[in-house]
Symmetry: C2
Subunit: 337 residues, 2 copies
DNA sequence: GTGAAAGCGCTAACAA
DNA sequence: TTGTTAGCGCTTTCAC
């Protein structure tokens, strides 16, 4: 293994000079710099991560804590994780992947040991057990999601209330009066992550202003569950003309069932989805949707975190402005109402 | 920050004793051990990861290199990643997530710096640029996937050839004579990851033995692409009665289109999928399938890697035996042929 | 069964 | 602009 000392010797300079060439924390003459860089090349030197972390008390690692449930919401999570890793690298950080299984203790472990300089928490619950530990640790942290009490922590999330409101506005603008929301699985609401609730609240508020009638149905993503929900919905609300769907898994079953039921989209029924753009585009019909900007959330989370590590930022809540893109799945409410 | 020295002082023992209590690498009297453990508790001590890595030249970190493409094959990748992290923790390792963007250089970086003790590579291509670097580094590594030249490297993968063969056997056993394979997107074949090719080869070989006629169609996962492929297929092979699908995305569109086409499953058409179990179970019909055992692959990869880190294992190829589970989507070939 | 002490490879004062 | 040096907190050999 090549060490900094060997590089120094090979280049005929002191160890600190090599270190400073690497870090750029002090001005080095062009010649010296070149000599050192050449030696680094020739010897194939890689700074030892452990030694560096010990001496500088910075590991240049960000911990990313994933959700507890593997099955849920998967594409978004994956997209966020990859984007976090990518942006972290741009700032010289690597990403340590923590799963939920270890529980809140994982926070203490990686932070207490100095393994990670900072943490990003995904899938934050309203009253998340990890938050007290995080606050106590004093380490920089960013939450992707919005707990009930952000108090001092930095949060990045989509403004789901506004997302819901946008759906209501869009459908109302097209003349719909009676709409149904197919929501996430009941388990999601039970876990109290908040985003699903915020969506429906925002939607309900706007619906009231606009005189829309709303029925909300949490629903599993399986074909059978969607079929069941749909059956009930059409019984309870025969006049429904608009669907808002916040449940990736339920989307294809829903479209498929409506088709079987000879209800044309968007002529008879309009559908608006809250989902990642990719999902809105890949199905049997291009869906009008409010995009969940996974990458942008990841980017912001990393930027905020890096700023905090550098001591340049305080706890704040950043809600991304949602955008509704009208595509082929929504249109004017049918005349007969 | 609490250090080992402080714990030692608090417990009235030497630093090395505390270290040995922690590592268990030498016998300690019960009393001493208890005293030390109490001090650790009381002071809230966490061993410093950097110092530990420096002194022991072991980081207790495994690097997991994800695929280059975010969009492809996502649920399986996510499942593997989570399972790798979980099993790694069981062996005291954390997992560093590397994305493909950094390219093969990432291998050198994490391994050269001692950041990671070992690497797991996902989404391995037949002629993967990372492999020479990996071999040169001499670090323990496990590939999930099977390159053209494993030479000395440990590989874990599903025996896709056998998976393909199982599909042929199953359909032949039900009396089908004319089958179509809906494969992965052309891009997957172009990338030469090999698994898709191995499947079709295994299937073709068995099909020949059993007198099956086979048409293979790579296909994008979009609804439109599947519709196009299906149209062609029924023109070229009007007598087809069996489909084998190795393309998660294409599954729902296919089922939906067959339904629209008034072809009943399994009465008119049998469908066998190669996919994760979850995918086979969640759709509109429970699919006969060969399971892609993501978790098992992850588990094996970690076990092999840990063995290699401990110096107990050499390079070997482990192909997991596939299993076909007959469910509702396959049945006897229709009588009329 | 326990302690003393020499590093591990690097960073960052302090000096020049 | 560069060099000298004292640690960073831990592991592990050597000694008892």
């Amino acid at each position: 293994m090549v060490t900094l000392a060997e590089v120094a010797q090979h280049a005929g300079v002191s160890a600190s000079t090599v270190s400073y060439v690497l870090s750029g924390k002090r001005t080095i003459s062009a010649v010296t710099k070149q000599r050192v860089e050449r030696s680094i090349q020739e010897l194939g030197y890689h700074p030892n991560a452990g030694a560096r972390a010990l001496a500088s008390s910075r590991s240049n690692i960000i911990a990313l804590m994933m959700p507890l449930r593997t099955d849920m919401y998967v594409p978004v999570m994956m997209e966020i994780a990859i984007a976090v890793a990518t942006h972290a690298r741009e700032h010289g950080f690597d990403v340590l992947m923590l799963t939920g299984e270890e529980g809140p203790a994982a926070v203490q472990r990686v932070v207490g040991s100095g393994l990670a300089d900072a943490i990003i928490l995904m899938d934050v619950e309203l009253d998340d057990a990890r938050l007290p530990l995080l606050r106590a640790s004093g380490r920089p942290a960013v939450l992707i999601g919005l707990p009930a009490e952000p108090g001092g922590l930095t949060c990045v999330d989509l403004d789901f209330a506004e997302a819901g409101a946008l759906c209501a506005t869009h459908l109302a603008g097209l003349g719909h009066r009676d709409i149904v929301v197919i929501g996430e699985a009941p388990a999601v609401y039970e876990r109290k992550t908040g985003f699903a609730e915020r969506t429906i609240e925002g939607l309900r508020g706007r619906a009231q202003e606009l005189g829309l009638r709303v029925l909300h149905r949490p629903c599993e993503g399986s074909y059978a569950a969607v079929a069941g929900a749909l059956g009930q919905v059409f019984t309870e609300r025969p006049g429904v003309t608009g669907f808002v769907v916040q449940n990736e898994q339920a989307l294809e079953p829903l479209l498929s069932l409506l088709r079987q039921d000879r209800r044309a989209i968007p002529e008879d029924i309009s559908v608006v989805a809250v989902c990642p753009e990719q999902v809105a585009l890949q199905g049997s019909i291009r869906l009008t949707s409010v995009t969940i900007p996974a990458r942008e959330m990841a980017r912001q989370a990393v930027e905020r975190l890096v700023a905090k590590i550098a001591g340049e930022s305080q706890g704040e809540v950043f809600l991304l402005e949602p955008e509704l893109v009208a595509r082929a799945s929504s249109g004017p409410a049918p005349a007969g109402g």
